[in-house]
């Protein structure tokens, strides 16, 4: 748990500086309401993230909490969806009187809950949802996204592909038929048209979300022989697609790009061949090239593995980022308030424009203009190395978020259309495993 010492170092220092003045109006606890998937297919993300939240909160409280105040967590299952989710969220804010919420994983949930948070005037961190449009269509005061959105995530993957395989001529896509599958392809294909207009899209396949069988899609792709196959699928769907494609030789025939495949690598084990391009929804990787020798980072990863049986995946790091952002917002607010316990509004003021060190990757900035998080992106290629019974990432590139995120005030797709082929030449550091 060394990592939390580092992550919380600033907070601890601020608490000490605040001294006795903190005693005035200090609450007995900071209540955090978290929405996450505890049921349904997306629980592959939600359950590890919940484990991470509990682990971080426990460790945080052992060290005195935030500004000397312990945190208390309550969870709502996003799997309930629809009105049930909204009702539970309202109950959490109005009855349990949580001080801050972390909502949500699904962009659909974020679309529902962001206006509610704004109405209820409760600070909300969109801790994992990726739809860029949420913060592009309206300026919010109480809602912040503590990580990137789909635009830099997809653009990083595309630039990586164009850098390592610049001569490909044809591409096919197999995405889940729901909001993320469609939106991620819109981002990717729009950028592709701008950066490499001569590429032909030979198939756009959107099988049903949760489909147990991709045999026909695999047959069609085997017959079409595209140079590249992109998929931004996740969870069991991605596992099934990759395994069915591998069993029939498709992974060897085409270059596969797994847009958010980092979360599946451990489960896929040896079924994943070398040479697949994998994105990580941020610079998240338990062997992060700039962090892997950091004692605190290693300690967190090992503690998580000991608790859950698996190395952390990106939703775990996204959850940790939300805690880091909260810590930083309170620390800033305390400092700005002369050490006195801040009001909720003062904490919201402090969150805007803040930059926070996550301890798990590069620092993240909450952009003042639209509260969008600027988060670096890590993309790599699968490789077999001794000591692991699954593939690890090699030839990793870490992309600067300021370069690959659309500027505030311009819709993602419109910005992507303005990119020129020269954009691919941006300098990106590459790391060997």
């Amino acid at each position: 748990m060394q990592i939390l010492k580092t992550v919380l170092a600033t907070g601890a220092a601020a608490a000490l500086l605040a001294g006795s003045a903190l005693a005035q109006g200090k609450p007995s606890e900071i209540k955090i309401g978290i929405t996450t998937f505890l049921s349904g297919p997306a629980s592959v993300f939600g359950v590890p993230a919940k484990a991470a939240a509990e682990m971080i909160a426990e460790d945080l409280n052992k060290k005195g909490g935030i500004g000397g105040v312990p945190v208390k967590l309550s969870f709502v299952d996003e799997g309930a969806g629809g009105e049930a989710l909204v009702s539970n969220y309202r109950r959490m804010v109005q009855d349990e009187k949580v001080d801050v919420t972390f909502a949500s994983i699904s962009s659909g949930s974020c679309n529902q809950l962001v206006p509610v948070a704004e109405d209820l005037k409760v600070m909300n961190f969109m801790w994992d949802c990726g739809a860029a449009s949420i913060l592009e269509t309206k300026k919010y005061r109480y809602n912040f996204r503590t990580q990137a959105n789909g635009t830099p995530e997809m653009l990083a993957v595309l630039i990586y592909l164009l850098k390592v395989k610049p001569d490909f001529k044809t591409i096919a896509v197999v995405n889940q038929d729901y909001a993320w599958g469609r939106e991620s392809w819109e981002i990717f294909s729009t950028a592709l048209k701008a950066l490499k207009p001569d590429v032909q899209v030979v198939a756009e396949l959107f099988p049903k979300f949760g489909s147990p069988d991709y045999s026909t899609e695999v047959s069609r792709l085997l017959a079409l022989r595209p140079d590249v196959v992109l998929t931004t699928s996740w969870g069991g769907d991605l596992d099934t697609l990759v395994r069915q494609a591998g069993q029939r030789g498709l992974l060897q025939q085409s270059t596969f790009v797994l847009g958010i495949g980092e979360s599946s690598i451990q489960r896929l084990g040896k079924d994943l061949p070398d040479g697949l391009i994998v994105g990580a929804r941020g610079d998240h990787w338990f062997l992060h090239p700039e962090k892997k020798n950091d004692a605190a980072f290693k300690a967190f990863n090992e503690a998580f593995k000991a608790k859950t049986g698996a190395w952390p995946i990106y939703p775990v790091y996204h959850m940790a980022q939300a805690f880091s952002a909260l810590q930083m917002a309170y620390d800033k607010a305390l400092k700005a308030n002369g050490g006195n316990w801040p009001t909720r509004e003062q904490v919201v003021d402090a969150a805007a424009g803040t930059e926070f060190a996550t301890g798990f990757g590069r620092p993240v900035t909450l952009r003042t203009e639209d509260n969008q998080g600027l988060e670096a992106q890590l993309v790599g290629v699968t490789k077999t190395i001794p000591g692991y019974d699954f593939k690890v990432l090699d030839n990793m590139m870490i992309f600067d978020p300021k370069v690959i995120t659309n500027p505030p005030g311009i819709r993602s797709v419109e910005w992507l259309k303005t990119l020129k082929p020269e954009f691919v030449k941006i300098d990106v550091p590459t790391f060997k495993q």
């Binding site: 756009e204 396949l205 099988p207 026909t216 899609e217 047959s219 069609r220």
Partner: protein, 299 residues
């Protein structure tokens, strides 16, 4: 679409149809005999898949070929244990009462089993492909297929269809089931134990659902919610065929499988709609399904 692609689509369609038939036929059988729309059918499918994967992963280190008996064993265990418990303790007290109660009680069973599944097997996808890996790939016009999907699954589906037909029409036990289906009161009057028939039939239907899951388990990731997806598809197939129609279920599954495969080649946007479009079209023309018959109501 050229003839090569058409042949590939037919192979894909048959493979998918085989799996759909194996799952749907149990639902149809249970409705045909017990007149119960079993919403928990999807959970039996999921439990069959999970137990098959668990047993396969356990026996594979001893001998990979043991995974095949493991698939069968999982189906039988789930059929007897889960099917037996549902029929004996949830459905039996409700026979003769409002149909809505049966629907609600099987829905409750579905919800309970869905949560049990999460408690027992967790939320991370599970994959046990050993049975599939044991069989070689075959190449058709340069496109690889796993023989598990294009030969074994259709083979088992065909065997199940023929076996069920033979059992129901050529054996004494089958005749007894058909007698109870035809007229429960008359069958009881001549000494047939209708309760026992219901019990056995439900176990057979549950075992078929579990067999569908067990045979699917080497090809797909097992995830929370997989049962819910399959129950919707099974209902569409059973309703299109006409509830209780076993041969109709086979033909409908084939029709859905082939149409879906061709649609993916021609117009993939409509893939998701295929089973339900077919269902709507069929039910508009034949409200009792393709093979269903109008029943005269007894007063």
């Amino acid at each position: 679409m050229n003839s090569t692609l058409a042949i590939l689509a037919v192979l894909d369609g048959i493979s998918y149809a085989a799996l759909v038939f194996l799952v749907s036929v149990g639902l149809s059988l249970i409705f045909g005999v017990l007149r119960v729309v079993n919403v928990a059918h999807g959970s039996l499918y999921a439990f069959g898949a999970y137990l098959a994967a668990t047993l396969s992963l356990s026996v594979a280190p001893l001998s990979p070929w043991l995974t095949y008996p493991a698939l069968l064993a999982a189906s039988i265990i789930i059929g007897i244990v889960c099917g037996g418990l549902i029929e004996r303790f949830l459905l039996r007290p409700l026979y003769g009462r409002d149909d809505v109660l049966q629907l609600l009680i099987t829905f409750a069973a579905f919800m309970i089993m869905d949560n049990l599944q999460r408690i027992i097997w967790g939320v991370q996808p599970i994959f046990a492909a050993e049975p599939l890996r044991l069989l070689p790939n075959i190449s058709v016009f340069g496109v690889n297929y796993t023989s598990y999907q294009v030969l074994l699954l259709p083979g088992v589906a065909l065997l199940t269809l023929v076996g069920l037909r033979y059992f129901l029409r050529r054996t004494l036990a089958g005749a007894v089931i058909l007698a109870v289906t035809e007229d429960r009161e008359a069958a009881t009057a001549i000494g047939i134990d209708a309760k026992r028939v219901y019990f056995v039939t439900f176990i057979i239907g549950a075992s078929l659902a579990a067999l569908g899951g067990a045979l699917a388990s080497p090809t797909t990731s097992l995830v929370p919610g997989m049962g819910a997806d399959m129950i919707v598809l099974s209902f569409a197939v059973a309703a299109t065929a006409g509830l209780g129609q076993i041969e109709g279920t086979a033909l409908t599954a084939l029709m859905i499988g082939l149409t879906r495969a061709f649609i993916i080649y021609i117009q993939p946007e409509f893939e998701v709609l295929v089973p339900y479009l077919l269902m709507v079209l069929v039910l508009l023309v034949r409200p009792f399904g393709l093979f269903g018959a109008v029943h005269v109501r007894k007063i």
